[in-house]
């Protein structure tokens, strides 16, 4: 198979870019390793900050996919190499695709919370990740502890796997703060008699309407924010979690018993991103994501000519930022392909 551009990753960045590139007249092949499209967004229930259904975004993207776009589902790349300005991609179906350019939209994985052992993920029954909570929302599962009770006190721990030199992730994952606020509100909506607490180092409410959501969570839903990083958690006999933090604004240690603890896991480069960094000799930045040639001017270009990057493969991004990034990548690839044709 021969093509102009191969888009690796069928998340929102990949879908948006494939459609736009196709509409600009380029031949596009979209490769996705899972059997469904939509990436992480497809796993979300409601989106911050305006409570929009995540599925509506995926539906929109799918509805606008061109009829004759080649989409290879359940397809994994086994090898990729560059020869004479062309890339040769081998897949698990033993296809070989020759392409003039590659768009890496391989996204992120959620941080493996086992690595912060002191928080007790995988050890205590009622410590879950934000991704798992979102999945409960998405599938309309009742919010229950492992013991089958409705939790009356739920804690959200910010910055798990982000801004942490101990695990060599120095970066901020950007979306966890506002996700915690969103999820705390949802918990309060579903369980009106529960208490929700957020334990944060800094609250980064940078986006449009984020601050409003934060205000609403306090004003309307009574979410309590405690500035202090969780140091350790222990478990009681009946499966509750005792957490130790410092209430740094009061300057006193604080102990609290939780029915459920939600770890706001950050973003780490996905396995696919790391694989491509290796295979294509891409430069990576501090967080091990793919490094842009220039973070201001050439955000979608990489150190390898013909390889472009979009979405969270280059750094943690919100959905809005990912869309903007995907569109800017389309323009970069369009310029690259047109200059090659001439």
């Amino acid at each position: 198979m021969k093509t102009d551009v191969v888009v690796i990753g069928g998340g929102i960045a990949g879908l948006e870019a494939s459609t736009a590139l196709h509409n600009l007249g380029h031949h596009v092949i979209l490769i996705e390793k899972k059997d469904i499209l939509g990436g992480h967004v497809a796993l979300w229930d409601k989106l911050f900050p305006n409570n929009k259904n995540a599925s509506s975004i995926i539906h929109y993207l799918k509805d606008h996919l061109p009829q004759n776009l080649t989409i290879l589902l359940s397809t994994e790349i086994t090898n990729i190499s560059k020869r004479n300005n062309s890339f040769f991609i081998e897949t698990n179906f033993h296809q070989t695709i020759e392409t003039k350019s590659v768009l890496v939209a391989t996204g992120y994985d959620v941080f493996n919370a086992h690595l912060k052992e002191e928080y007790g993920y995988g050890i205590y029954d009622n410590v879950i990740t934000s991704a798992e909570l979102e999945e409960m929302f998405k599938n309309n599962k009742p919010i229950l502890t492992k013991q089958g009770k409705e939790p009356s006190r739920i804690g959200f721990v910010h910055c798990v796997g982000s801004r942490d030199r101990k695990i060599n992730n120095l970066y901020c994952s950007k979306v966890c703060c506002v996700t915690a606020v969103k999820q705390a509100i949802e918990i309060r909506q579903k369980l009106p008699f529960s208490e929700t607490y957020c334990f944060y180092m800094d609250l980064r409410m940078y986006g449009l309407n984020f601050e409003e959501l934060y205000n609403e969570s306090q004003e309307k839903y009574g979410v309590t924010f405690i500035r202090g990083r969780l140091s350790e958690a222990s478990e009681t006999i009946d499966g509750k979690i005792i957490i130790k933090v410092e209430d740094t604004l009061l300057g006193r240690p604080l102990k609290m018993t939780m029915d459920m603890l939600v770890l706001m896991v950050g973003m780490v480069p996905s396995a696919g991103t790391s694989f491509l960094i290796n295979k294509l000799d891409l430069l990576s930045n501090n967080g091990h994501f793919i490094a842009s040639s220039d973070e201001h001017l050439l955000a979608n270009y990489t150190n390898v000519n013909g390889v472009f990057v979009a979405g969270t493969a280059s750094s943690p991004k919100s959905i809005d930022d990912t869309f903007a990034d995907a569109r800017s990548a389309v323009l970069a690839i369009h310029q690259y392909l047109t200059s090659q044709k001439m």
Partner: protein
């Protein structure tokens, strides 16, 4: 006029202009990780001595920068150097090194 005791100014201001920040400059030279602290409080939460005493490492870290030497000298004696703070610090501050340097600085300055 003697009955107006309450009018006497109780000064709780951190007198930044006049505080002696020699300890901070000393630490910046011998243990520069001291500057990485963002006062998240994980150290205080996990502190072995903090369970029973007023020891609060993040306040000490802030006081170092503000030059509040008397507070530091009073509080630091409660530390048992167990090192848990170092294991939980998200910024990799070499906390035991900082505390040891504070102790030896105070020892040599006879405070």
């Amino acid at each position: 006029m003697k009955s107006f005791q309450y009018l006497k100014k109780i000064d709780r201001t951190i007198d930044y202009d006049n505080n002696d920040r020699a300890l901070f400059y000393y630490l910046m030279r011998v243990e520069p990780t001291v500057a990485l602290c963002i006062a998240c409080g994980a150290c205080t939460a996990t502190c072995s001595a903090g369970n029973f005493s007023t020891l609060d490492l993040h306040k000490i870290m802030l006081s170092i920068r503000r030059g509040e030497k008397v507070y530091i000298a009073k509080e630091i004696t409660q530390c048992v150097l167990c090192g848990k703070c170092q294991l939980v610090c998200p910024k990799n501050v070499n906390t035991r090194g900082v505390i040891l340097q504070i102790m030896s600085f105070l020892q040599s300055s006879q405070l």
